[in-house]
């Protein structure tokens, strides 16, 4: 019996623990986590492969975190069944853990298309530290030379950079016409693609992998991939980095409603009282689109977990929402991309952009009724957060939009009323 039970010890779970403890220092907390060392930074697994990070650096909290927060940590354990009527969770080993308040923060699992050849030696997914460890030991043990990365989103691009650093020849296969298509517009995407190509990476767009092929002499070992256009790409390993799908298995058969992810309100509560969900498993509020949707992003998972934790402990807190937002560091090109960056229909929108070829700088703002709803900043990102502030607070920029993308834009350019609101100076 635990007052608070949290399933998942990653971004949202850890954040929820801290929020609960801010409000309630004595209520018992149990965290059920599949991973033996849960409190590491998943976004760092590419740096792990690239040789820039190691477990100690990747830990987002110190080893005594559970003890310090008085948490009963059931690590290496899996929750397999949920009874929301009698309020208990069943673990794989049969143990029943009852709860008063439950948080489902089970995250996502890598999406892998159903194709032939997935059972061959040399096929990987890439979302956890153990995935990264498996990949590294394989590369080292077999001295792999050539990799195919499937999916040119954030994970695929970061992994490609890491593999290039390790000296592998990489072919990037992307179903969309452009790389990073969920994050960037064609201009910014081409800028990144040109840099990546200049480092010897082959980028194939508009294609997916039809099946994974074996080596002629050892058919059980990856020797290449067959693309949908019939072309073959030879490789020693293939890594699927297409994205994640919510791990909603646990709520099947309960009254908890799901769409693509678990449906939650702005207090992170599911459709069943006392059961909350946060992170990649939940459909959360997007303040730009004004609707709930999957937003599997680390900083948002932390924020959502925090909101869930507060509400579970009785401190009523509303989630103000997130949106599709990413910062990228890969291949030496700093990028910030937030919101509606590449709208298909611009009839009700206004697009401002500025480009400087010699500095390789590109900036774009998308406005709707004089409110920023999307932005891309490439190679000059220091002030990007100021624009995010304007965006998040839905500030009308009509009177100063002509200076927003000027080189001299600063906080001093903002109208005095906004500066006052931001408490910038006395």
């Amino acid at each position: 019996m635990s007052k608070y039970v949290i399933i998942g010890g990653c971004a949202a779970g850890i954040s929820a623990v801290e929020a609960i403890r801010e409000v309630d220092q004595v209520g018992t907390i149990t965290v059920i986590s599949e991973e033996p060392c849960p409190q590491y930074s998943r976004p760092m697994i590419s740096d792990f492969v690239g040789g820039k990070a190691y477990l100690e650096k990747m830990k987002t909290r110190d080893d005594k975190f559970w003890t310090k927060q008085s948490v009963e940590a059931l690590t290496g354990q899996r929750a397999v069944k949920l009874d929301t009527v009698k309020k208990f969770v069943t673990l794989e080993n049969g143990t029943k853990v009852t709860y008063e308040k439950l948080l489902i923060a089970t995250g996502g699992k890598p999406f892998v298309p159903k194709i032939d050849g997935l059972d061959k030696d040399g096929v990987f997914t890439f979302t956890s530290l153990s995935d990264a460890e498996r990949l590294v030991s394989k590369i080292e043990a077999m001295q792999l030379k050539k990799a195919v990365v499937v999916g040119a989103g954030l994970i695929g691009i970061s992994l490609t950079e890491a593999l290039v650093k390790r000296g592998l020849q990489v072919t990037l296969v992307e179903l969309q016409d452009k790389i990073l298509s969920l994050i960037l517009d064609p201009v910014a995407s081409d800028l990144v693609a040109n840099t990546i190509r200049s480092l010897g990476v082959e980028i194939i767009t508009g294609q997916s992998v039809k099946n994974v092929l074996g080596k002629p002499e050892t058919p059980n070992v990856v020797g290449g991939v067959l693309l949908t256009n019939g072309c073959q790409v030879l490789c020693d390993c293939v890594i699927f980095a297409i994205g994640v799908i919510p791990r909603t298995e646990l709520v099947v058969g309960t009254d908890i409603k799901t769409n693509r992810g678990i449906i939650v309100d702005n207090y992170m509560q599911t459709t069943v009282p006392d059961v909350y969900a946060s992170g990649d498993v939940a459909e959360v509020y997007d303040f730009v689109l004004n609707q709930n949707r999957l937003l599997p992003l680390w900083p948002l998972a932390v924020l959502e977990g925090k909101v869930a934790g507060y509400n579970m402990a009785g401190k009523k807190t509303e989630y103000s929402g997130g949106t599709n937002m990413s910062s990228l560091k890969y291949f030496g090109i700093p990028i910030v991309s937030i919101g509606l960056t590449n709208p298909k229909d611009v009839s009700s929108l206004e697009v401002l952009s500025a480009q400087s070829a010699e500095e390789n700088v590109y900036k774009k703002l998308v406005l709707k009724d004089n409110v920023i709803v999307g932005m891309i900043f490439v190679n000059d990102i220091e002030k990007a957060g100021i624009f995010f502030y304007l965006m998040k607070n839905k500030i009308n920029v009509q009177n100063f939009k002509h200076v927003l993308l000027s080189k001299t834009f600063s906080l001093a350019t903002l109208p005095e009323a906004i500066r006052k609101e931001m408490k910038i100076s006395e």
């Binding site: 909290r61 924020l303 910030v336 957060g385 001093a412 100076s425």
Partner: protein, 147 residues
Amino acid sequence: MKRIIAKQEHCMGCGLCEVGCAVQHSKSKDPIKAYNHEYPKPISRIRLELNKPVSFAIQCRHCENAPCVVACLTGAMTRDEETGFVKHNPEKCMGCWTCIMVCPYGAIKADVSGKIVAKCDACTELSVPVCVASCPNGALECKEVTS
């Protein structure tokens, strides 16, 4: 808890706060050596914002609900429970720029290496932060504030 406060009316836009900050965070801590002989040149963690006649200096506000602490992917950005300042641990930073993305003041930037971020550390080793001490017109003040 102590905070550095900017006083817009007193700011002349001279930029000595930036010089002081860059020197304080240089290897030599000497202005001539730092600016002439250190490569890459040290950077200031405070930025003079100028739109004449408006000018003021901005650096990390050590926000109460600091968005950078929540957003940090690695645990490099934390709240120092003793001082209340937002601390950045360069050892843990992976230079993902997420904190830059969410800082409403644009007060975090890439450090000289371009691989991790740098921001105001409130000069906790000094009795008075160097930007405050460098200001010739009292436009920066370090004082006790209630949250």
